[in-house]
């Protein structure tokens, strides 16, 4: 599998299923890390489960099965987070449960149409989500809220851009990070404009 080719499909993957929960989970670094951990666990468990389910379900019914599995695991993970990680769960709110929908749409092939190992694909999707979410969160929290990991940075208070902490700022930052992601993961020939 070509890593770059796979990563290049990440922004499209996120955009196609609704990037809302990505935006909401990047308000603070803790929220981004919490959401990322939830995403990785649900994605990997869903992929593992689907490896077994694929033996019994035909291709035209796969999506329904994947949605049941993905949503099931995300609800279970959400309940466990509410019980044992309440601070993180309260920051994520309803979006912790939305992960299940994403899990049903894990890419099975890369940009060039090469088939992928779904478990590895799920893991890489989660890691890619983590990178995008954490980078966005760091930018938004430091520049928008003058804090990092909830710790106030007093010397930045007079320089902060409150817009970045809000919804509009979230769109701008995530869009910029996704654009950089696309650029970095573009094949060399594409970069040179050939």
């Amino acid at each position: 599998m070509k890593l770059k080719s796979f990563l290049g499909s990440m922004p499209v993957f996120l955009l196609s299923v609704g990037v809302g929960f990505v935006l909401l989970s990047t308000a603070t670094v803790w929220a981004a890390l919490g959401m990322s951990a939830s995403v990785i666990v649900v994605f990997v468990l869903t992929a593992l489960c689907m490896k077994l389910v694929d033996k019994f379900v035909s291709a035209e019914y796969r999506l329904f099965a994947a949605m049941i599995v993905g949503v099931g695991f995300s609800v279970l993970v959400n309940l466990l987070m509410q019980a044992f990680l309440p601070a993180v769960a309260s920051e994520l709110g309803v979006f912790a449960a939305v992960v299940g929908i994403e899990a049903a749409n894990i890419p099975c092939e890369d940009k060039d149409g090469v088939k992928l190992n779904t478990v590895v694909s799920a893991l890489l999707s989660g890691v890619a989500f983590t990178v995008i979410a954490v980078i966005s969160a760091v930018i938004r929290e430091i520049l928008g809220s003058a804090s990092v990991f909830g710790v106030k940075l007093g010397f930045l208070d007079s320089f902060r851009l409150k817009t970045l902490a809000g919804a509009f700022g979230a769109y701008v930052v995530v869009a910029a990070v996704l654009a950089c992601f696309c650029k970095l993961s573009a094949p060399k020939a594409e970069k040179e404009g050939k």
Partner: protein, 424 residues
């Protein structure tokens, strides 16, 4: 077909398995989640009552709990009883004039009836409250010693009233006894009633000054309209109020007028009066500007305790007139001058700090096109204490300023009526 049927069966089995798993995990985690949720809600309450063991919601303005409490003011949204008997916690929400959003705070009151903690949850005003809420800690339901925060009068008044409502919710429902106010506090609270020049909207507009001898507490009006002093008289205390025109009165804790019996106390309080020559000079200058031939200008004594800071009598063209200088509290502090004829009708009037801006007086100017500030003032000419109706000259968009005019005009008529020896 076979593949479709097996796929559907597999999907149904998947749904059943995950459904059972979610049900099971849900049942196991429900008590833990419930405890977490109540902990999150109760965390602010713990901040105002750190040694609390737990809280029980006994009143919710939204009606979510059955409650035996009644008559709770709208400013109190929730009341919690501390489960080990340490006291009560309150969630309050209040608004003030001109506020953009509600002021929300959490309050803790011990079983001894004292405030043990205050935390502002939401305050969205540009002017800073600073440590004002912390001045309430340790006070009881009398709120003795608590004043308003200068510069943030409206919000601090709203905050104080919400705290009073919290105490009243407990007192009225017999969950707590009201603390008894001492005579000094009772007399100090009488000041806005007996000397209206030292208050605005019921709030004392005076600064505490040094007291000595039998004077235990003394205040001077922010607008220079007089002095109030709590004076020891034997075993008791009396409130002495003075204006700057020779007027004096004394009251006991019940609010009864005891002036006739308090000569010594009044003389002692008179030593606290500040020099009033600046106001007298300004009034005299105003009189001579209007009446170039004014003669025999002399101070008059009046017993009115209001916003009038100086009163004079003079003669012009053989007629007797009375000049008054009133300093009421409008959007800004107002300086308003009046001349009344010998019958008490307004002959001249002007305001030094009256701003006739389109923004505030637009509605008035629309109804009265071409009018200026001077035209507004001329509406008052010829009115006396009997013909004056303050409400007819109110300007809706400039309530504070037109209320100040109303106050000053009413006070001047009262001062005229109370001139010693009568006006002649």
């Amino acid at each position: 077909m076979k593949k479709s049927i097996s796929s559907i069966i597999a999907i149904v089995c998947l749904a059943a398995v995950f459904g059972a798993a979610v049900f099971g995990v849900g049942k196991l985690t429900a008590p833990i989640i419930e405890k977490n949720n109540s902990g999150a809600e109760l965390a602010p309450l713990k901040e105002v009552m750190p040694d609390a063991e737990g809280f029980e919601l006994i009143y919710d303005a939204s009606g979510s709990v059955n409650t035996a409490l009644s008559g709770v003011s709208a400013e109190v949204s929730k009341i919690y009883r501390e489960t080990s008997g340490k006291g009560f916690a309150f969630k309050c929400s209040t608004t003030s004039q001109y506020s953009k959003s509600p002021l929300e705070f959490t309050l803790g009151i011990s079983m001894e009836g004292k405030i043990v903690g205050v935390k502002i949850d939401s305050y969205d005003e540009t002017l800073d409250f600073e440590d004002y809420p912390q001045t309430f800690i340790g006070t009881d339901s009398t709120l003795a010693g608590v004043t308003l925060h200068a510069g943030v009068t409206f919000s601090s008044t709203a905050f104080k009233n919400a705290v009073i409502s919290s105490f009243n919710a407990l007192i009225d429902n017999e969950l707590m006894k009201a603390a008894e106010k001492g005579p000094e506090q009772l007399l100090a609270e009488l000041i806005p009633t007996v000397h209206t020049g030292m208050q605005n909207g019921g709030n004392l507009k005076a600064s505490e000054i040094d007291a000595s001898g039998n004077v235990v507490k003394a205040y001077t009006a922010d607008n220079g309209s007089g002095v109030a002093a709590v004076v020891k008289k034997g075993e008791n205390f009396v409130l002495v109020v003075l204006n700057n025109m020779g007027g004096a009165a004394a009251f006991d804790v019940e609010g009864n007028d005891v002036t006739a019996d308090c000569g010594a106390e009044i003389d002692e309080a008179k030593k606290l009066l500040a020099d009033n020559s600046a106001s007298e000079t300004l009034l005299e200058k105003r009189i001579t500007a209007w009446f170039a031939d004014a003669s025999a200008i002399e101070n008059v004594t009046t017993s009115a305790m209001n916003t009038v800071v100086s009163a004079k009598k003079f003669v012009s063209e053989g007629k007797t007139y009375y000049g008054f200088y009133s300093k009421s509290f409008g959007f800004k502090d107002m300086d308003i001058y009046y001349v009344l004829d010998e019958n008490g009708a307004i002959s001249k009037m002007t305001a030094q700090t009256f701003i006739f801006e389109e923004e505030y007086f637009g509605a008035f100017k629309t109804a009265n096109p071409g009018w200026t500030a001077a035209d507004y003032v001329k509406n008052y000419y010829g009115l006396n204490g009997e013909t004056y109706n303050g409400d007819s000259l109110m300007i809706a968009a400039a309530t504070m300023s037109s209320n100040a005019f109303k106050t000053s005009t009413s006070d001047v008529f009262a001062a005229f009526s109370a001139i010693e020896g009568g006006a002649n």
